[in-house]
C-alpha cells in the first residue's frame, strides 16, 4: 500500500490499539487508544482529532503520547450516551499539513455498547419481631457508578411477589458507606411463629440514566409476645466495662448498660440464658421463665493464649 498519492498527498492511518470495553455503563467515560501514523514518517502527534457519534462531535478529550515504536498514540476519553444500545464513534483526523506535506483526512470507527448501571442492595436492622406486630427494616441501594439515587422507591415483596412494604431512599447516603442510599421500610410481622423470608427490590427507576433493578432476600423470626421481664445483672470477676454485654434469653435479646444490667422481655418457657462479649468467656445456663425474674451471672475474661501453647504436640 502506498502512503503517498500521485499528487504527493500523504495518507495517514488510524489504528485502534487499545479498544474500549465492549460494554460500558451508559453516560460514563469510555477510553481507547489510537495509533496515528503517516507512512512517510511525518510527525502527526498533537493533530486535532475529533470524535463524533453520528454528526455530533462529543467533545472527547485527547492526549498524545509516543508508543514504544515512536508512533503517535492518541489516548481518547469520551462520554458514552445515556441511552442503552450500540454506540459507533467516528474518530477523524482531518486533512492537515504537517512537515510541509499535505495529509488526507483519515477516519476510524470504534464500536461499543452502553448498558444500564448495575445496582445492588442490602437489608439490615432486621429484628426478631413479635408476631402480628409492625417492625421496620432498612434497605440500602447503591449504583455501581455512584449515581445519586435519592428519592427513588424500594419495595419489599413476599414469596408470592406481593408488595408488603415500600420506602423512599433518603437524601443523604448512609454514614460510613461509599454511596449507599437507605430507606426505612415498615412491615407487618406474620401472626404465626416461624422464620420468614422476604425480598427487597429496587425496581428500575425512572430517570435520565438507565439503571438495572436489584433484589435481595432477608429473613426474620417471629417471637411470641413478651409476658415477663427478666432482669439480668452481669458481674465481672475482673476490672472491665460492664456495658455492652449481649444478653440472650432464647431468641430474646438485650445489651447491658454501664451497670451491667439488662432487661429482657420474654414469653413463658424454658430458654438458654447466655451472655457474650468478645473479651469474655461465654457463660450460659438454662432458665425457666414463669414470671418476672432477676438473675445474676458472673463472667470471666476470655482466656487469651498463645496459639502455639495449645499445640503441645504429644
Amino acid at each position: 500500500m502506498s502512503g503517498t498519492g500521485g499528487d504527493g498527498v500523504h495518507r495517514p492511518t488510524l489504528e485502534l490499539v487499545e479498544p474500549p470495553e465492549p460494554e460500558v455503563p451508559a453516560g460514563t467515560e469510555v477510553r481507547w487508544s489510537v495509533r496515528v501514523c503517516c507512512p512517510s514518517g511525518c510527525d502527526l502527534a498533537s493533530s486535532h482529532l475529533t470524535v463524533a457519534t453520528g454528526n455530533t462531535d462529543v467533545g472527547a478529550s485527547v492526549t498524545w503520547e509516543e508508543d514504544d515504536g515512536g508512533a503517535a498514540l492518541a489516548r481518547v476519553v469520551a462520554r458514552a450516551p445515556t441511552e442503552v444500545g450500540e454506540v459507533r464513534w467516528t474518530v477523524t483526523l482531518p486533512a492537515t499539513v504537517a512537515g510541509e506535506h499535505a495529509h488526507e483526512a483519515a477516519t476510524l470507527t470504534v464500536v461499543t455498547r452502553t448498558v444500564p448501571h448495575a445496582t445492588s442492595l442490602a437489608v439490615w436492622g432486621v429484628p426478631s419481631p413479635v408476631r402480628g406486630r409492625p417492625f421496620s427494616v432498612w434497605v440500602g441501594v447503591k449504583c455501581r457508578e455512584g449515581c445519586p439515587l435519592r428519592g427513588h422507591g424500594v419495595e419489599v415483596r413476599d414469596d408470592a411477589g406481593r408488595e408488603v412494604g415500600t420506602g423512599a431512599l433518603k437524601r443523604a447516603t448512609r454514614p460510613g458507606t461509599d454511596g449507599l442510599y437507605e430507606a426505612e421500610v415498615t412491615l407487618a410481622a406474620p401472626a404465626q411463629p416461624g422464620v420468614f423470608f422476604l425480598d427487597a427490590h429496587f425496581p428500575t427507576p425512572e430517570g435520565e440514566v438507565p439503571h438495572e433493578a436489584s433484589q435481595g432476600t432477608f429473613s426474620f423470626r417471629t417471637l411470641d409476645p413478651p409476658e415477663h421481664v427478666v432482669r439480668v445483672r452481669v458481674l465481672l470477676a475482673h476490672e472491665a466495662s460492664l456495658a455492652g454485654v449481649e444478653v440472650r434469653v432464647g431468641p430474646y435479646e438485650a445489651v447491658t448498660d454501664e451497670r451491667g444490667a439488662a432487661e429482657v422481655g420474654v414469653a413463658s418457657g424454658t430458654f438458654e440464658l447466655s451472655v457474650r462479649r468478645i473479651d469474655l468467656e461465654p457463660v450460659s445456663r438454662e432458665l425457666r421463665v414463669t414470671g418476672d425474674a432477676e438473675v445474676e451471672l458472673v463472667a470471666s475474661p476470655r482466656r487469651r493464649v498463645d496459639a502455639d501453647e495449645e499445640r503441645l504436640w504429644m
Binding site: S120, A122, R174, T217, D308, M314
Partner: protein, 543 residues
C-alpha cells in the same frame, strides 16, 4: 546414652589427643587445592553448614567446641530462620535440670517409648533409630543450650512435661518481630552469640546453590553459594551439613506429598524466611532419599493451620506481624486477630460456604482444599475468604484499616455483598466471586441464624447475621508450617541415598531431615549437634 551415640561423642580433648588438629580449627580464604577439575576454592573450613537457623547454629557450636573450623552460609540477611520467629518451644526431656526443678521424673527410655507410640499419629511414623538418638541426647542437649546462654522459662509443660519455652531476646533491635510471644528469638540470638564468640564465620546473603562432589570418590567436599551475583566455592574438609529448614514454601516439592497443596497456601515464617527445600534438592541431585514421608501428610499437628489473623497474607497462629518489624514492608499488614468465628462466614473463591467455621480440625482443612469448581485448577481449594459486616467489626473491636489489613489483594470492603464480591481480586483467585452467589450464601446463612441451626454444615448455633453495611472480605486461607519429613539420614545424620548407601561428607539436620517429625526447636538443635559430631569426626579422619 546409647553405645552408638556415646561412641560418636568425641570431645575436643579426644580430638587434640589424637593429634587431629592439623587440618582443623582454621577457616581460610583460600587459593586452595582444587577439587572439581580446574576450579579453585574460595573459602575452606572443616565443617561447612547451609543455614543459620536452630540446626545450623547448633551444629556450628558443636563443631567449634570440638576444635573444628566452621563456615555457615545463610541465604537471608540475618540469622535465625523460622526459629527466631517461633514461640520458642523446646521439647527436650529425659531428666533435664528444668524437669528436676519442677519435680518431674524422666529418662531417656521414657522419651523413646513416648515417641514411638503406635496409638498417636505424631509418633506412629517416626524412625525408631533416630528416635533413640533423640531420646539419648535429649537431656544433654537441654543442658548444652543452657551452657550456651539460652534462657528458659521455669516450666515443664505439656502432656509429657518435656516442653518449655525460651525467654524472648531482650534486645529489641535484634528481633524480627516484637510481639511478646516470639520467644524463639531468645534461643537463636543466644546461639548466634555463642557461635560467633567461638569463631564461627557466618556468611549472610550467601545462598547455597549446589554441592561439590569429588569426581572420583563421590564424597561431598564442598558447596557452591551465590552472594549478590558472585559465585563462591567453599571447601568442607569434614563435611557439609544441610540445615536449610525444610520444604513447605516450595510448591512443587510439597505437592509430592499432597497434590492439594497448590500455590495459594502461604507458609508461616514468610516473608522473613522461606522453606524452599534447598537442602533436599541439592542432596536429591546426588541420589539422596526422602524419609518419613507419612509424617508430612498425617492428619494431626500443625503442618497446616487455620488463620489466626485475617485480612493479611500471612496470618499464622501466634506469629503476628507488627509494624515495627524490619520486614513489615513485605508483610504489609498484621491482620485482624482474635477472630470469633461466630462473627464471620468462610467462603470459597466462588462465594459459597463449605464447612463449619468454628471447626479447626483436619476435616476443616479438607473442606478448604476441596475442589473450588475451577475446571482449569482442579487441585487445591483456592482462596478462602472470611465475610463479615459492620456489626462484626464492632463486636470484635477491630479497626479494618491498614496496617491492620492489606487492601492490596487480601482485604476488601464494600457497601453491598454484590459489590464486595466484584471487588475481590487476588493473585490466587482463579474464578471471579459471583455477587449473586455471595448474596444468596449470606441470605441462607442469615436464615440459619434465625432458626438457630446450620442445616448445611452444622455450625453450632449460628449467632450473628451478616447484614449491616459495610461488608468485608478478608483473606483466611489456611497457612502451612512444619516440614515433617525430609532427607533420609542414619543415626549420625549422614545423608542416605536411594541405594541405602551413605553419601560421604553430607549431613542433614532440622526440618530438612526426615524421620523425626517433632514440632519445635528441640529436635533441630539436637540433630544439628549430631551432624556436627559426625562431620568433625570425618574431618579428623581426613587429616
Amino acid at each position: 546414652m546409647s553405645d552408638e551415640a556415646r561412641k560418636d561423642s568425641i570431645s575436643r580433648r579426644d580430638f587434640v589427643r589424637r593429634g587431629a588438629t592439623v587440618g582443623l580449627g582454621s577457616t581460610a580464604l583460600a587459593s586452595l587445592a582444587t577439587c572439581a577439575p580446574g576450579e579453585a576454592w574460595d573459602l575452606s573450613a572443616d565443617v561447612v553448614i547451609a543455614g543459620a537457623g536452630t540446626s545450623g547454629l547448633s551444629a556450628a557450636i558443636e563443631a567449634l567446641d570440638r576444635g573444628a573450623s566452621v563456615i555457615i552460609a545463610e541465604a537471608n540477611y540475618d540469622i535465625g530462620g523460622h526459629g527466631i520467629l517461633s514461640g520458642g518451644r523446646v521439647n527436650l526431656g529425659g531428666g533435664t535440670s528444668r524437669q528436676r526443678s519442677r519435680g518431674v521424673e524422666d529418662s531417656a527410655d521414657a522419651v523413646f517409648e513416648y515417641w514411638i507410640r503406635h496409638d498417636n499419629l505424631q509418633s506412629r511414623y517416626t524412625d525408631r533409630d533416630l528416635t533413640r538418638v533423640y531420646a539419648d541426647l535429649s537431656a544433654e542437649t537441654f543442658e548444652w543450650m543452657v551452657e550456651n546462654g539460652v534462657e528458659f522459662m521455669d516450666e515443664a509443660i505439656g502432656a509429657d512435661r518435656r516442653n518449655g519455652r525460651t525467654v524472648q531476646w531482650p534486645v529489641r533491635e535484634e528481633l524480627i518481630t516484637s510481639y511478646p510471644t516470639r520467644l524463639g528469638s531468645g534461643l537463636l540470638r543466644a546461639l548466634e552469640k555463642s557461635a560467633r564468640a567461638k569463631g564461627a564465620q557466618i556468611l549472610l546473603l550467601h545462598k547455597m546453590t549446589d554441592l561439590v562432589q569429588d569426581p572420583d570418590t563421590k564424597r561431598v567436599v564442598g558447596m557452591v553459594v551465590e552472594n549478590e551475583g558472585r559465585t563462591l566455592r567453599i571447601r568442607a574438609t569434614g563435611g557439609v551439613i544441610l540445615a536449610t529448614g525444610g520444604h513447605t514454601s516450595n510448591v512443587a516439592f510439597r505437592r509430592m506429598f499432597d497434590p492439594r497443596l497448590t500455590e495459594e497456601y502461604q507458609t508461616a515464617g514468610e516473608p522473613y524466611t522461606s522453606q524452599n527445600a534447598d537442602g533436599e534438592l541439592v542432596a536429591m541431585k546426588l541420589g539422596a532419599a526422602l524419609w518419613g514421608t507419612a509424617s508430612q501428610t498425617m492428619e494431626a499437628g500443625a503442618w497446616i493451620s487455620k488463620t489466626e489473623h485475617i485480612g493479611c497474607r500471612w496470618g499464622y497462629s501466634s506469629l503476628w506481624w507488627q509494624p515495627d518489624s524490619p520486614v513489615f514492608d513485605k508483610a504489609r499488614a498484621s491482620g485482624l486477630s482474635e477472630v470469633d468465628w461466630q462473627n464471620v462466614i468462610l467462603v470459597k473463591q466462588t462465594g459459597v460456604r463449605f464447612h463449619d467455621e468454628t471447626d479447626d480440625s483436619h476435616a476443616f482443612f479438607a473442606g478448604c482444599m476441596s475442589y473450588s469448581g475451577d475446571p482449569n485448577k482442579k487441585n487445591g481449594g483456592g482462596p478462602i475468604w472470611a465475610v463479615f459486616d459492620a456489626d462484626a467489626v464492632r463486636r470484635q473491636g477491630w479497626d479494618p484499616r491498614p496496617p491492620n489489613v492489606d487492601p492490596d489483594g487480601y482485604f476488601y470492603s464494600a457497601d453491598t455483598l454484590v459489590e464486595l464480591a466484584g471487588k475481590v481480586r487476588n493473585p490466587y483467585q482463579t474464578l471471579p466471586m459471583n455477587g449473586r452467589t455471595l448474596q444468596e450464601t449470606v441470605a441462607r446463612y442469615n436464615g440459619f441464624v434465625d432458626r438457630g441451626v446450620d442445616d448445611d454444615f452444622g455450625k453450632p448455633r449460628p449467632l450473628y447475621k451478616i447484614q449491616t453495611p459495610p461488608f468485608y472480605a478478608a483473606w483466611s486461607t489456611p497457612i502451612l508450617h512444619d516440614s515433617l519429613c525430609g532427607l533420609r539420614v542414619d543415626t549420625q545424620c549422614r545423608v542416605i541415598d536411594l541405594d541405602e548407601q551413605v553419601i560421604e561428607g553430607l549431613y542433614c539436620a532440622g526440618e530438612a531431615m526426615g524421620g523425626f517429625p517433632q514440632h519445635g526447636l528441640g529436635r533441630c538443635a539436637l540433630f544439628g549437634r549430631v551432624a556436627a559430631r559426625s562431620a568433625v569426626a570425618s574431618a579428623s579422619r581426613s587429616v
